[in-house]
Amino acid sequence: MLIPCPHCGERDYREFRYAGDASKARPPLGSTDIAAWHDYVFLFDNPKGGHREYWQHVLGCRRWLVLERDTATNVVGRSWWPSEGSPG
C-alpha cells in the first residue's frame, strides 16, 4: 500500500504508523462536556468501506495526516493535513 504524504509524496505504508479514526472532532481544550469527550475517546464506527483515519509518517517527515482508505479493499484515496480540513 502506498500512502500519499502531503509533504513527502507517495511512500510505502511501512513508513507510517496507523493512528485510528479521524472522523471525530476533538473537544476544545478545557471543555467540560463529558459526553463530548466520551464520544470522542470511546465511540467509533467500524465501517466496511470508506474511512477517514489518522496516519503519522513516523519514518519520514513525522507529520500527522488524514487519509481516506477503503477498509475492505485497502484502496487509498486523498490525504491532507489535519489542520487544514478535508479538501472537499
Binding site: D12, S31, I34, P82
Partner: protein
Amino acid sequence: MSRARRLGQGGYVDRSRPIRFTLDGRSYAGFAGDTLASALLACGVRIIGRSFKYHRPRGFLCAGAEEPNGLFTLGSGARTTPNTPGTMTELTEGLIAACQNGWPSVRFDLMSVLSLAAPIIGAGFYYKTFMGPRRRSWMFYEPFIRRAAGLGRAVHQRDPDRYETRHHHADVLVIGAGPAGISAARAAARTGARVLLCEQDFLVGGSLLGEGAGALEALRTEELAGLATLEVMTRTTAAGLYDSNTVVLVERRDHARPDPARGDAREILKIVQARAIVFATGAIERPLVFAGNDLPGVMLAGAVRCYLHRYAVLLGERIVVATTDDAAWQAATELAAAGAHVTLLDERAEVGGELLRRAAASAATVVLGAQVRAARGRRGVRGVRFVSPQYPSGHELPCDLLCMSGGWSPVLHLTSHTGIKPAYRADLDAFVPGGYAAGHFGAGALTGAASAAAALETGSAAGLRAAQHAGYGREASVPAAAPGVAVAPAAPARPRDAHWGKAFVDFQNDVTTRDVATAYTEGYESVEHLKRYTTLGMGTEQGKTSNVNALRQMAQLRGIDVPAAGTTTFRPPYTPVSIGALAGRNLGQHFRPVRRSPLHDWHLANGATMIEAGPWLRAWYYAWAGADAETAYVEEMRLVRSGVGLSDVSSLGKIDVQGPDAGEFLNRLYVNEFARLPVGKARYGVMLNDDATVLDDGTTARFGETRYFMTTTTAQAAEVMSRLEFLLQTAWTDLRVQVASVTDQWAGMAIAGPRARAALALALPGIDVSDAALPFMGCQEVDFAGVPLRILRLSFSGELAFELYVPSDCGTALWQHLLASAQGLGIRPYGLEALASLRIEKGHVAGLELDHRNTLDDLGLGKMARTSKPFVGRELRGRPELQAPERWSLVGLECQEPAARLRGGAILFAPADPIQGHGRGYITSVTWSTQLNRFIALGLYQGGLAHAGEEVLCAYPLRGELVRAKIVSPVFIDPAGERLRA
C-alpha cells in the same frame, strides 16, 4: 526403463555442456538447459516416486510447476530441500537428488502392499478410524502412518544459506513470460512505462518453448533487452497477490551457486508495488480420469510435446494420444513426425476437417468417438483399453506412452487471492477469472485464448491498457477487445466407472473417483467438505491438475452443473515458498533492531552482563558486585545507599521542546503545574491519556526562556513523542512550539548516593555543585572542557543524586572521568536491576505500574493534579468508575515469612478468601530490600492503602507458593525525603 530417447538435434538444451547429477546415489548426465525431470526422462528413468497413500509407482505427469508426482529431496546435509518438483529444477552440475516416499526404494517399495489394503484407507479413513470412540487406536497407529504417508522430510539443522527481501516499484507488472506476457510487456514498455516481467521458468517463452518449429524465435524475445524500461526476471514465481496491487515474487538463485560467505542470496523475496498488473499466467492441462491413469508413462499431452520440442526427448515409440479437444492433435502429429507410432483417440465423434486433414498428412492413426477405459501395466503403461463405436465392448492397444488431454484450466490462482471468484465458461469447459479489479488485466490462455496468435493479440492489448492505467501511452488506441477466440467445443471429460481399478482424480494425495463418490454418499457434497474429507487439492500441488475433475465428478453425482458445484478458494502461495525466503534477513539478532547506549562498549569491556529492555540492551549488573544477578544487584544497592554509584540512563527518552508557547504546552500535557517553572529548575510530571489512564511520567527541565528538556521512560519514549506531535499538529495548532527527539543525541548517567556531591565536586572542578547552587530539582547547563554538560539534581533512588547529560560521543569520556576522579570515594557502576530495586524501595512507579490501565489516583499520585487548569485527561478522570473506592490501587508489601520470597505477578488474596480466581490484586515489582532486610514489593490491591497494616496472601500457583505479606506504604525508605535533599 522406458523407450525414451534424446533426439540428435533441436530443443533448448546445449549438447556441448553435459551436466552430471545423482539420483538416490546413482550417477546420470543431462545437458545444460535440462530440468531434473527432462534429464531423468532422457536417461530412461520412468519411476520417480511412490504415491502418498498407496505407494503406487509414479512417473512424471507434467513438465511444469503443477507436477504432482515428481517431487524430490534435493541437496544434502543442512541444505536438504524436500518436495521440489523435478519439472522446475534446473539441472546444475553435481545436483544431488533423492526420491521420496519409497522404502527401501521407489522401484521396490515394500509399502505398496498398502494398495491391497486400499478399501480401508479411502476417504475419511483418518476420521473414521482414529476419532471418536476408537480414538485410542491413533496412539498405536500414528508412528506407522506418519512413516508410511507423507512427502519429503525437512532437516532440523540450521539453514546455512542467506535469503533476502527486496522492494520493487513498477508501473506495470506482467506475470508470466509466455507469448501473452511477452507481448504485454513489450507493448507496455514501448509507452515508456517501467515494466517488470516475471517468469517462474528459467527461460522465457512459456508454451512456445513446447511448440517447436521456431515458435519462440518468431517472438523475437532478444528485442526485449533493448527496451530500457523493461526488466525481465526469470526463475521468479508470483506467489501471491495482495491488496493495493502488491505482489510477492520469489526468485530462486540455485543455478548461480550462491555463496552465503560472499553475501549471495539463495532466494529473494520481492515485494512489488505495481500501478497495474497484467496476468498472463497461462493454463494447465487436465488429466483424463480412467483406471490406471497414474501409471508411469501416462502423461499430459502438452507435457509430452514440451519434452519433445524443448528438451528434444521423445518419450515413447508406440504412443497413444487420448483427448477430448483439439489441442492434443498437434501433439499426435508432431510425435508421429518425430518417428513414433501414434494412435489418436478422440472422445468426440466429429471434429473439424482441418484437424483430420493435418492428421491424415501425418502418420498418426485417428479413432473418433473413442473413450479410454483403462491403462494397463504394473510398473509402467503397456497398453490402453478403450471403447468406440467400432469396439463397443472394448479394445486394447499396446503402447509405451499414453498422452492424455482433458481440456485446460486457466491459472487463475493469483486473481483469486484477493477474493474474486472464478467464473465457469461452458465454451471452454473451464473456469476463468470472474472479473478483474481496477488496474488488473488478463491476457492469453488465462482468458481462454487458445492459440499463440490470440495470446499475442490479447497480450499487447492488455499491456497497453495496463500502461494507460499507470498514466502512459494515453494517445495510443487500444485494439478492440479480442473477439471470443473460437475453439472447438470440448467433450466433457466425464470420469468413467472404474471397474478395472483405481482412477485417480488427485495424484498427489491419492484421491480416486471412489473417494469422491464416498464423500458424496456420506454427505460431504460441498467442495470445501470434499476437500477436507478426502484431502483432495492439498499438498504442494493444491489442486492444480485435480480441482476441475473433482468438481465435475461431484457435480455429476449431485445432478447439477459444474458451476453450481462451486470451486474452492485459492490462497497464497501459488507454489510452496521456503521459510527462508519469508524470513529473509530477519534472523537472530537481525530479527529486530537493537538499540545500544553510547556506553555499550564500556559496559562490555568492564564486566557488565547485559539484558534486553524493550529494544535496548542495558547493563544488568556488573561483575565487581557478584557473579550472578541475585547477589550482584543487592551489593550494588548497598553501594548506592552507603557510598556512591554511577548508572547509565541513556535509554531514557529525551525530547527537546522549544518555542514561545513551550511552557503553556507543557502545562496542558502534564497534570501538574508547569507554566511557572523557572529557568534553572526541573519538575517531575505525569501525563495522562485522553481516557485518564496514566501515559507516562518523567522530568522536564527548563534551561532557557523558551527551551525545555523533557525526559520520558525508556518504554514510552516513542509513544510520548508521537503524542506531542499529534497534539501540536492536530489540536493545538495555535501553539508556537517545536519538538524533536534527542534520545540518541545525549548520553545520560545518574550519579547517586550520600557521596554523590563529593564525587561530582572531584570530577567537575570549577563547577559549583553545592546545595545552594544546585538545590533539589535544580538544573544547570554548563560548559565542561568545551562540551555542553547538563546537570539535573533529581533522584530516582531516593538518595542524593544527579543526572548528567552530555553529547553522545562524549558519553564514555565523561563516564570514565567520573569513575576515575571519584575513585577514592569508592565509586562503582551499578546496573538496571539495582536501579529498578532502589526505586521500589523509594516507591517510585515505573513501567510495570504504568500499564495504561491505572489512573493517577490508582498510583497514589492524585494530589499532583492541578484541576484548576485544563490538561489532557482531566475531564474523563472524573468518571465515577474511576473514582470507585474499591479500585485496585498502589500499595507496598512486606514479606512476613523470612524464608520465603515475593514474586512479580503473584495474585493477592485476603486471608479469608478462597485461593482461586483473580484475587484482589497482584504484585507488580519485587526486590530484596537492603534497608529492611526482607523482600518488599509494589502491587495493586483492591481498596489500596485503606487496608494498610492488614495481612494478605501472595499466591504463585506456577510454583505452588502461598506467602504472607503485610500491606504498607509504598514508600519504604525516607518518607520525608531528607536523603535526597541532603
